[in-house]
């Protein structure tokens, strides 16, 4: 037991004396949170929206004002002709335009059927889609506001509403993604490199030719990185809550348990890699190409999974981070409970058991 303790202490010496490891451990989460939280957010704010109010009547003006008062749009009222609008789009001067046709008020109040024309730049589908959603939502609000409470609206309109993230806080989706990514780096990449380094420097030979149980080398390597990744988990959550104002909707305990499971999976992966390789370079390459890249591509936090071809979606099921990402989203953002994430948790559990048994079975008590 004392041996294990001394071994773990030694691992912490290694970590805290290596500036690069420290930077990966604590600099990377910070940078990623900031990047995804602010710079790379898909959330659309202050879109330039040209409003051409042909009607020039009361309701038309009211709608324009309501659009202007929302934080999403930067409304510029310009009386442009259809050809002018078209050329402005072509030149890329405007991304979105709303045309309020002549007789808008009359149509709305008398015919109870009014038309608006929204033009967006389809070459930027993300922005187009968002603009459409936002304008739709604002128009719905506007419609409700104009109708007397008593009157029954004959028109049943599809309601577009942003679920779970009504303020439109885009960084919220990235927090589970960053968590998955960072934990993967710490548990898989750093752990495998730490074991393989002993092989490279030749210290593994001395460790093996000692009474210390060989499998305990793996345990001694895993524990420090388990502790470090939990520290990381707390660090990222704190950044998320206090820096990005992302609330934690569900149970913190459940989130912790799910994370612990994912750490176990990633550690097993890291130990498996370290078993199979003899150089730090290869270990890092496998961790990066084999796990980090799929984590980025197949979890759905950057590229929506629904849009992927079927074979890719099958592959995504093999990526542990996908399940972790889904579970964390459910608990953290939607506030769901154990009943809704048991499936993801069992998948992670199963993956850990398989990986760990391969690792222990393949572990060599000798060289080569």
């Amino acid at each position: 037991m004392k041996q294990l303790f001394v071994f773990i202490r030694k691992e912490f010496y290694h970590v805290f004396r290596d500036r690069r490891t420290l930077l990966i451990l604590f600099g990377l989460p910070l940078v990623q949170i900031l990047l995804f939280g602010y710079a790379l957010t898909s959330e659309v704010k202050n879109i330039d929206l040209v409003v051409t109010n042909v009607s020039n009547d009361v309701l038309g003006q009211r709608l324009t004002n309501q659009l202007r008062s929302s934080a999403f749009f930067n409304v510029q009222e310009q009386p442009l002709s259809p050809t002018q609008i078209e050329s402005a789009f072509k030149k890329g001067q405007i991304k979105a335009a709303l045309i309020i046709p002549a007789g808008f008020s009359a149509d709305f109040t008398k015919a109870r059927h009014a038309t608006l024309q929204l033009l967006t730049d389809g070459s930027e589908p993300n922005i187009s889609k968002t603009v459409l959603q936002y304008v739709n939502a604002i128009v719905q609000d506007f419609q409700r506001a104009q109708q007397p409470v008593t009157s029954i609206s004959p028109v049943i309109t599809p309601e577009v509403r942003l679920l779970y993230n009504e303020e439109g806080n885009g960084s919220i989706n990235y927090v589970p993604g960053v968590l998955a990514l960072i934990l993967m780096i710490v548990c898989t990449a750093l752990t495998s490199v730490a074991v393989v380094r002993e092989k490279e420097t030749g210290t593994m030979e001395i460790l093996l030719v000692s009474p210390f149980k060989p499998v305990m080398v793996l345990v001694a390597k895993a524990i420090p990185f388990l502790i470090l990744s939990l520290a990381n988990f707390a660090f990222i959550l704190l950044l998320a809550v206090y820096l990005l104002q992302v609330p934690i909707a569900g149970s913190l305990l459940l989130l912790f348990i799910i994370t612990l499971l994912f750490i176990a999976t990633s550690l097993s992966f890291g130990l498996l890699i370290s078993n199979a390789t003899n150089s730090q370079q290869v270990a890092l390459l496998i961790s990066m190409m084999g796990l980090m890249l799929p984590t980025i591509i197949f979890t759905g936090f950057i590229f929506p999974l629904e849009n992927m071809p079927l074979p890719f979606r099958w592959i995504s099921n093999l990526v542990p981070a996908k399940w972790y990402y889904a579970a964390v989203r459910s608990v953290m953002l939607k506030g769901l409970g154990l009943a809704d994430v048991w499936k993801e948790m069992s998948v992670l559990c199963g993956m850990t058991i398989v990986l760990l048994s391969i690792t222990v079975k393949r572990f060599k008590i000798r060289l080569a």
Binding site: K2, Q3, V6, F7, K10, Y13, H14, R17, D18, T201, G202, T203, E205, I206, L207, L208, V209, S210, P211, F212, I365, R366, L367, A368
Partner: protein, 335 residues
């Protein structure tokens, strides 16, 4: 040739205690190849190291020294043959062996980012002991690096790293010490100091198996095995190995040593001619005892100036070259 271990090989049920206790290291017909048998690292290697002996394994890089060390320290499995260390079978009883031996691998294998003190404490604990328990054993060596105990191992000089590595290998007072090329790449001064330390350890009763590519270090060992291309060329005391050199050996020099070398090699009387420092070491095909005169005459006939020829006692390197270059063992005696 008598195979001293053939009985053990045939009787696989020999219990470990049947292995003589005064022979801490026994290798019997060890063979090992790499890359699916294409590269033979060891072929039928047998040797015995007696208790308290300082035994040298002498051979160039790629001779199989490290492979033999790894098999004996339970790090590798041999393809064929058996071996015992401290009476334990290297395959079946590897756990007991790992408790009783000290091992210093060929490459500097300590934690460069840990201090001298931290390295020592770590290895002491790993072997289930403390720095204090057997401090007497390492005291003389450790005193030399003590002023740097707070320095990271990576910042030590080559000689000091070596001393620290030796301390770490000794910290649990091993019965058998394996040192794989401890003096390679180290300058002459540190090399001498290191051999003096080994002499002192021998006084403490520790059995030491040490490998080196430097032939001149052979004389510091009680007994040596010359090894090349995975085969043991010969095992004996250094003086008996050189004493068994089968022919007269002459040292010759002249004003132009390189021309003399070329001339002697082209002379059909010469069996071998190698440069040794400022001399050429020469053996003749038919030596009737007048070799000195013959060589002198020949050199003179080739217009060499300042010719000196002596009869000399061979060194280990002479013996090694002779053993390595002849297909049959020229040392008829012994086996």
């Amino acid at each position: 040739m008598v195979k001293p271990y053939s009985m053990k090989k045939n009787n696989l049920h020999t219990p470990p205690d049947a292995v003589p206790a005064d022979t801490p290291i026994i290798a019997a017909h060890l063979s090992k190849s790499y890359n699916k048998g294409t590269v033979a690292a060891l072929s039928d290697v047998s040797l015995e190291v007696k208790k308290g002996e300082l035994f040298g394994l002498i051979g160039p890089d790629g001779a199989g020294k490290t492979t033999l060390f790894r098999i004996l320290t339970t790090l590798l499995l041999a393809d064929e043959g058996q071996a015992w260390v401290s009476g334990y079978d290297v395959v079946k009883n590897f756990k007991q062996i790992r408790r009783t031996v000290g091992y210093m691998p060929g490459k500097f294998s300590l934690y460069q980012d840990l201090t001298v003190q931290e390295n020592l404490t770590f290895f002491a604990t790993l072997f289930g002991t403390s720095v204090e328990t057997h401090y007497e054993l390492i005291k003389d060596i450790y005193d030399q690096i003590k002023p740097f105990s707070d320095r990271r191992a990576g910042k030590l000089s080559g000689g000091m790293k070596q001393k620290l590595a030796l301390c770490c290998a000794l910290i649990h007072k091993p019965a058998v010490l394996f040192l794989d090329e401890p003096t390679t790449g180290v300058d002459v001064v540190s090399r001498r100091e290191f051999w003096e330390m080994l002499q002192q350890l021998k006084q403490q009763g520790i059995t030491i198996l040490v490998s080196t590519p430097y032939m001149e270090e052979a004389v510091r060992c009680d007994r040596i095995a010359l090894i090349q291309n995975g085969r043991i060329l010969h095992v004996d005391t250094p003086s008996r190995i050189t004493g068994a050199f089968p022919v007269n050996l002459y040292a010759a020099k002249a004003a132009s040593i390189y021309t003399l070398l070329k001339d002697l090699r082209s002379w059909n009387q010469v069996e071998s001619c190698y440069a040794f420092g400022e001399w050429l070491h020469v053996t003749l095909r038919q030596d009737t005892g007048n070799g000195q005169a013959l060589i002198r005459e020949y050199a003179a006939s080739r217009a060499h100036a300042q010719v000196v020829v002596q009869t000399i006692a061979p060194t280990i390197e002479d013996s090694f070259i002779r053993l390595a270059t002849s297909n049959t063992l020229p040392y008829g005696s012994g086996h």
